[in-house]
Symmetry: C2
Subunit: 199 residues, 2 copies
Amino acid sequence: MTHTELDAKMRILLAAKKLFADQGFDGTSVRQICDEAGANVALVSYHFGGKENVFAALFDQFFPSERIDEFFKQQMSPVEGVKLIIAEVIRFRKSDPELAKITDQEVVTRSPRTHHLKRRILPLWTKLRGLLEEGRERGDFRFGSLDQGLLFVMGSVLFPKNVHMVESILQEEPLSVDAIIEETQIFVLRGLGMVESDK
Amino acid sequence: MTHTELDAKMRILLAAKKLFADQGFDGTSVRQICDEAGANVALVSYHFGGKENVFAALFDQFFPSERIDEFFKQQMSPVEGVKLIIAEVIRFRKSDPELAKITDQEVVTRSPRTHHLKRRILPLWTKLRGLLEEGRERGDFRFGSLDQGLLFVMGSVLFPKNVHMVESILQEEPLSVDAIIEETQIFVLRGLGMVESDK
DNA sequence: GTCTATATGGGGATAGAC
DNA sequence: GTCTATCCCCATATAGAC
């Protein structure tokens, strides 16, 4: 982790991450990727074995699977858990906006690549569903449909704001990550009908 | 509107809507579109002048611009307005899930086609922003950042549920449209910190 | 590991017959 | 309005030299 020049393999990964985020997988050619990376076209085949595998390697490299694993080891109350998931997801999306965008794209397009994402992210959303259920049973929350509640939380956390179309509506100075997390926690917990005891 | 066979132009439009929704614009070829439409490849050029223009024509044909125009003629209080926008948007997305998906894709991918969408939809979100602002001034709502509040409402309404990746987490029987609208209104108004007087 | 050169297919688009 | 046949370009991928 010195100032050494990155090798071609990593440069290709970084270029692919950037371009996939901007233009989508299908909208990006390996030629573009290699231009951006300052690498030769043939190196995609050599290092990864094709464009599809570059996509897979992206998630191997940059998706925070260990962090999710650690999260699952913890014990927590529903309210704590919901707040923690909100904070962690927002923090990750802020730390790697490109991977977040790629993820968002895969959610709305049925692609032969979805499983890379599903495998890694579904456990977290399933956990969230469990927390909501438990929280409602314990009387912490009061909302109607569990599925619908889950969707609201996901929507509040995942709705993309660093995309051009959304940015063009916003007018205020961007908040700090911590401020965004806090506002999201407040909105979500209120929305779920949390009985006001801690907040 | 009889049982007359649709002409090739319309068949192409419908096929394109379906395929763009499933696979994205770049992931769909005009050959695929014409196969699906039972039409000849050359007809895309003849009727539209290219694939890009098929996309534009899709919004000319199916986007409910008149309905939005009518909405703008009405006078309404912030709470009423927010509830109405929630209801209208959810109703439209349910009535044309394919166009909704295409819209969602355009939001997360910077494409040379975004302006078709922006031109039509931004006025509505700007109006919503105004309603939130007015509502907060009047004391109907209490929330922090206006931009952030706007994003929460948009996320709650727009988060896609009829996509495979999201569906695989859900477990309950789907709600009726009216039930979804009601739950969304409750979640959003609670989240915005509405002072409980009408609801 | 990295390059050049090339193979092979599919992409969008159109000329011109019907 | 609709078809066939064709053009040309750009896509991914690889063989083989360095």
